[in-house]
């Protein structure tokens, strides 16, 4: 092994003697500025790879390379999963700007309907929309009276004792800020779950039973952990938001 006339090894650790970690008298430093940029340092680093491979290394790579790659050939989309009412929905993460905690939404006088009002997101006033009614989703009552009947802490406690769930389940409504080019909208989701990766062939056609407004805005249905998630068509969603609210 050592009979190989390898690339010239520096006689010493010159970077510690005359280089950046030494007295900095190396003439190469004028051009290279830092030893990191110097080919001598780089080639010395590469000599770490001239060690024998560790045990099991060949076997591991033999097995790893034998398997055909099934990922990478297909486009994979990352989708943020959230819930509005009883409906689980997904939007591609590239439309997401922010998921943030609930904050006061200030009503706009004489404007109701799908427009919930203005909301302050990092010092900017953005339009907050009621996505639930727009998609034709039955609004789950979030009135104070309903909260009193079924207080949130109790629900969380019961849920955490249920053996089927492993983690304590805290349901928190969130504000989601979405964006396309310079359009930005805010909406409230009753729960935000996670970002999940899907490939195009996971997408199934939406069932005919969903509300028409929702069906029109849905690309298809994804199944994730026995949950059916309607993947929203971002293009149509922004289109609808613009036409319905301006």
């Amino acid at each position: 092994m050592s009979r190989l006339p390898l690339q010239t090894l520096p006689a010493s650790d010159c970077w510690n003697q005359i280089g950046i970690w030494g007295d900095r008298s190396c003439p190469e430093l004028v051009g290279a500025i830092h030893c990191h940029n110097c080919p001598v340092f780089a080639s010395a680093g590469r000599h770490f790879l001239d060690a024998p491979s560790p045990p099991g290394y060949l076997q591991e790579w033999t097995e790893r390379l034998a398997h055909p790659v099934d990922e990478g050939t297909e486009a994979v989309h990352s989708v943020l999963i959230f819930r509005i009412g009883e409906e689980w929905l997904g939007l591609p993460v590239h439309t997401m700007m922010e998921v943030t905690s609930l904050r006061p939404v200030h009503r706009v006088p004489y404007r109701g309907g799908f427009l919930a009002g203005l909301v302050n997101i990092r010092g900017e006033l953005l339009l907050c929309v009621r996505l639930g009614p727009m998609l034709g989703i039955q609004e789950v009552s979030r009135e104070p009276a309903a909260r009193a009947e079924r207080p949130a802490p109790t629900t969380a406690l019961i849920a955490s004792k249920t053996p089927t769930r492993t983690r304590p389940h805290v349901i928190q409504p969130r504000l989601i800020v979405i964006r396309r080019q310079n359009e930005r909208w805010v909406f409230t989701a009753d729960e935000v779950d996670r970002v999940q990766r899907f490939s195009a062939h996971d997408l199934a056609a939406p069932p005919a039973t969903v509300a028409r407004a929702l069906q029109r805005l849905t690309l298809g249905v994804l199944v994730c952990q026995e949950r059916r998630i309607g993947l929203l068509d971002e293009g149509r969603l922004f289109e609808t938001l613009r036409t319905k609210l301006r």
Partner: protein
């Protein structure tokens, strides 16, 4: 031009990266008893059987050192679209660098039909062989490789 550089014995070689499909770590190669010494063996790469040539053996430079930096360079061979691969086992496969295309390179003189590492050129005071895949393998090696492929792939 970006080239992948590696070492065979005392020679430093450069291969145009456009001719490289992938560089993979050294793997366990299945060798058959009657195979020539330059054939390091075959391995399964993504479901496809790929023969690997030990360039050290082929050049008569001993064995390829069992280092981490000894890797297999996978290059496509054969007609376009057939997606056949050939592995070249070489040492110190650890660097990609920019070189001037060898226009005024000195041709490396070999006898016809012998192993040819290609024309030599200097790069930063170092002598590099600019590898040309079509000219690399001697005629008998190419013939035998074809047999290996036919034998292992129905």
């Amino acid at each position: 031009m970006l080239v992948l550089t590696f070492q065979i014995g005392t020679d430093r070689l450069a291969l145009d990266i456009r001719q490289v499909r992938e560089v993979v770590p050294r793997v366990q190669l299945r060798q058959s008893a009657c195979s020539p010494p330059w054939l390091a063996g075959v391995f399964v790469y993504r479901g496809q059987i790929v023969p690997v040539i030990d360039l050290h053996q082929l050049a008569g430079a001993g064995e390829c050192p069992p280092h981490l930096s000894s890797r297999i360079i996978l290059v496509p061979v054969g007609p376009e679209g057939e997606n056949r691969l050939l592995g070249l086992l070489a040492a110190q496969v650890a660097d990609i660098r920019e070189i001037q295309p060898p226009s005024g390179a000195v041709p490396y003189i070999t006898n016809p039909g012998e192993l040819d590492f290609g024309p030599v050129l200097t790069e930063n005071g170092e002598i590099l062989h600019f590898l040309e895949l079509e000219r690399l393998l001697p005629e008998p090696v190419q013939r035998q490789l074809a047999v290996v492929r036919r034998g292992s792939l129905p």
